[in-house]
Subunit: 317 residues, 2 copies
């Protein structure tokens, strides 16, 4: 195939990327692993590429989008739950004090998830997320969340797919939340989405079979859980993995420790003007250990400020 060899006269597959080391490393890797006769050739069925979502495919500031969904749902459901007026973290959410609500840590978060993500059917949840995404707006840009996505990463997804790579999301976020928009937003079908999950149950309700989401954790697809999620869902080690935080350390480690050509991509948020700049000190998307390890592990660090011509499909923040 002519296109996959990327001859000089072909259209640039990554037009939003500046011509620096990161872009060169990506193009070199794709060319080497897909060119017939290349010593680094990877058979098509092994071309698995995994992408973290929050902070890698879309923005995660000021706070994770899924959490904003849960907060809005709590407010919407509050009139039917008078008991929430005296029950944290709900009381603080209803009073608009998200910070206080989240002081309860993981147990508080799990209560929010249980209240807003469970007891309903998979299809009801899916519809609810899609409905919310169609009206909710980012607090700083006033854009729909599905437009807070990174144009250069969309190009990378397309470039990999055009070269026979199968692209997967591997996110710490909820798998069902992701599946509600991944196909229309990224062209990634539900069966190629891996994420944190709750247990589920099958039953016939009023003569209609449904999957019911249960308030019990099935998998936390973060840190060491990412290789486990990949193993369970994909059943094969990726050759390309990308992330932006310490939650991706093990996924990149496991991916790039495999034999043959491997690619680890670490996206560093360095542009406080056009997006946000954060790493070691951030509560959301903390990047410390993985950044320190990148050079030794041979991972490619993408500097958002230097490597990207534009950030969002509609321009910059």
């Amino acid at each position: 195939c002519i296109g996959s060899m990327g001859p000089a006269w072909a259209a640039d597959p990554l037009p939003s990327w500046n011509d620096g080391k990161a872009k060169q490393a990506i193009v070199s890797f794709v060319t080497r692993t897909t060119g017939e006769g290349s010593p680094d050739f990877v058979p098509p069925e092994q071309r698995i590429a995994t992408f973290d979502n929050d902070g890698t495919l879309w923005a995660e500031k000021p706070i994770y989008t899924q959490l904003l969904y849960a907060i809005d749902k709590v407010k919407e459901m509050a009139p039917r739950h008078p008991e929430w007026k005296q029950k944290e973290p709900f009381t603080s959410i209803i009073e608009g004090d998200t910070k206080k609500a989240l002081e309860g840590g993981k147990p508080a978060l799990m209560q929010l998830i249980a209240a807003t993500h469970t007891g309903i059917s998979g299809e009801e949840f899916h519809d609810s997320v899609r409905q919310w995404l169609s009206t909710a707006r980012h607090p700083e840009t006033n854009k729909p969340y599905t437009e807070m996505i990174y144009q250069p990463m969309l190009e990378l997804l397309n470039y990999l797919r055009a070269n026979g790579y199968k692209t997967f999301i591997v996110s710490g976020g909820g798998i069902d939340f992701l599946r509600a928009f991944a196909e229309s937003t990224y062209g990634i079908p539900p069966e190629q989405v891996v994420g944190s999950s709750l247990k589920a149950w099958y039953e016939v309700r009023d003569g209609k079979p449904v999957i019911v989401k249960l308030p019990e954790v099935n998998l936390i697809d973060d840190k060491a859980g990412k290789p486990v999620g990949i193993y369970q869902h994909i059943g094969r080690r990726p050759v390309f993995a990308s992330g932006n935080s310490d939650g991706d350390f093990e996924m990149l480690q496991w991916t790039t420790a495999g034999s043959g050509p491997r690619f680890g991509l670490l996206l560093h948020h360095t542009d406080d003007q056009r997006e946000w700049a954060y790493d070691r000190e951030s509560h959301v998307g903390r990047l410390d250990k993985a950044l320190k390890a990148a050079s030794k592990e041979g991972w490619t660090v993408v500097d958002m400020h230097d490597d990207w011509k534009v950030i969002f499909p509609w321009g910059d923040r």
Copy 2:
């Protein structure tokens, strides 16, 4: 695309199927759901087809292949486990009395699985299964187990795929066992295999990252567990589902209860000469409830004796 409309002059996509009601129903369904402009057209991304494995894609008599693997492994491991000489179900296995070993029911089975499927890495298990499959032979036909597959079902898989369907295995068998041969045997890649699973853990062993299989059940992908496994792995209701036992009842029920065109296929083992004949009374692949429901549910029952010209790729038993 010319081929997908199946004009009269095109080669028969299902040459091992007799021209009866079952074949006609399959061809009609595929034609209706893939023809541009057809009122029953199903968009390509929704063309999900699921297949049970034991007794649907390959033979399950006299007993499940995965169990035979576990038995052989116990015998192979026995010299390193002198304590097994006085510990059921291992004692009976070592003494060659499988029937007695299995009298312990599910706890005995779980002990066999724990002993032979866990504590090792995912890659070690994969290699062990492939090694075993390359030498083990079916006790009655003396064929490799990967040749105890149904030629008409291979044709059906190919026919569906040629028409834009994505084919998945959804089996009560172990997901990692299935993934060791599904790609080379059926052309189904690991990421399209759903099965029963154990928990797993990620760790760095001697500087090398590995996935370790743990002796704790993650999902029993059988009966009501099949729709749950489909929901977790595929995230979308199939439009085509096929099975051969009561373990497939809920998968077929959930699939065919969806709106729009749906296909439920139930394979009935009716040929004691060329394969095996069994249903209500069988311990392996018991088929009772699903067979009774087939007519009311609109499922297509495939009669192996009447509908199949040949059974195995190499001929008949």
